[in-house]
Symmetry: C3
Subunit: 205 residues, 3 copies
């Protein structure tokens, strides 16, 4: 992988970890947890999806054990979140923004890991969807919220559509880093549009 692609990879990893850590920190502060509780929820949200992905693929030790800088990014994200808490006027929108960014980044990180293990596109999209969604699910279960995946919003669907879009771009021979960034953007756009227009999936039963 050339320097530019490797840089994009690392930016996605750091941004995804940071975003989901902020998302977890904000959710914890909403529940008025102490400083360590905030850091722990930030950690679980940020590593949850990647850990599940690494476990089911069989890629152990998991990334945050092998590489301490993830923990550093998470702690920094949690501390910054606590520091800026009072200045954040639009709390709900900030939480939503970072959660949506994390969803996009981690879906791509899941798809990448699937490709690295030679999975077919369908399994890559499945793995990407789980990697993207599970951080938020773990965060919500830990602090006793209704998991975001069940709040009648377009959530996992955004990951699946994003994943499918990635492979369409791939089939059109779009350069990999561009495909990744476009996919992340699509997932973020789908989430923003869906929440703004209050789109819901029909129940079909």
């Amino acid at each position: 992988m050339d320097f530019y692609s490797l840089l994009i990879e690392n930016i996605i990893i750091i941004c995804g970890t940071f975003s989901y850590a902020v998302s977890g920190a904000f959710a914890a502060m909403q529940k008025r947890l102490d400083a360590f509780g905030v850091i722990i929820v930030a950690f679980v949200t940020a590593v949850g999806g990647g850990t599940l992905r690494d476990l089911v693929i069989g890629d152990t030790p998991v990334f945050w054990i092998k590489e301490p800088s993830y923990t550093f990014v998470i702690v920094v994200a949690a501390l910054l979140s606590m520091f800026f808490w009072k200045n954040v006027k639009r709390f709900k929108k900030t939480l939503f923004l970072f959660d949506t960014l994390g969803l996009g980044f981690f879906t791509i990180l899941g798809i990448q890991k699937g490709l690295a293990h030679n999975l077919d596109p369908g399994s890559c999209i499945l793995l990407g969807t789980f990697t993207g969604c599970f951080g938020g699910i773990a965060r919500d279960m830990l602090i006793n919220n209704i998991p975001i995946i069940f709040r009648k919003e377009i959530y996992a669907t955004a990951c699946i559509l994003g994943g499918a879009f990635y492979f369409v771009l791939d089939a059109l021979n779009v350069e990999n880093s561009i495909s990744e960034l476009l996919t992340i953007s699509l997932i973020v756009v789908i989430r923003i549009v869906a929440v703004r227009k209050q789109l819901v999936l029909p129940r079909f039963y």
Copy 2:
């Protein structure tokens, strides 16, 4: 393994996956989740036990990553469940039936995996019990029900008795596929009798 045994193996895997997927779909529809929520709960219930089994044994990548047909069976089961939802008059009994069938099938799938890894009978029964029960536990925790394992019913006990029965048949040199089918039947019968007669384990304290 001869053709007949391999066929029985695959039937058990497909039936277990289908049964627990229907069980998860019905539980999700009871909570009025959207179409994707139903598919997700069906998926978690169907793969939860087998995933835990594969992770603790160390058999990765897990089965649903390696073999996309599991996901296909789950989605079909979820769609059929949503399609037939309105026609199901005895909802509670249907949910119970598919959950009980899943419990039996997955207990055997856990025991099989233990035998394939040369575990002693006690560890096989333990693994089978966890594989059988965990799908329902994951489903209940995900949608915020009291885990079925705690509803004062004979649940895990059925798996343990079934597992012990399997090794009794094995010691009597009963052919393996017959032992498996008889064990599944016993677990199902124990559950049906226990619930019908409202048998409970004493508390002993």
Copy 3:
């Protein structure tokens, strides 16, 4: 490892397993679960931290599958807990004592596993903290309590301080078994002092 060190290792493993099994059994009896529910919660509490540790490190099959004596210790602990339930006058204090002992023992078991896999001290402390805390978290999530880690007590902090203390002793060339026992003692003391004096971490936001 000489005989004395191996003996200390095994004592820590058995004591940790026993302590967390009692802690889980007591929590289950508080919820009035049946005999199997008590054994299951005892099992989950006792194996939860070690299982997470083994999975993220990649050391499979997990310990309780490989070695049936863990299950034996857990069942004995659960049965003794049920037998002595009525005689336990200071229920809350007993639960706290066994949970605190388990926290200390399992933090060391996590650090040990990290050292065996050549992790740096920071990652060892991280692994030790997760191994120590996760048993209690799994227990609380399973029986629908607020996870102990969020009850505004000094909990994970005790593990982190204990882990740091371990590596200080190690740098001072203190013999390993002594370091382990001193670390466990420090974690227990921190917890007792923190709860007795109702010390809480500030919220910082």
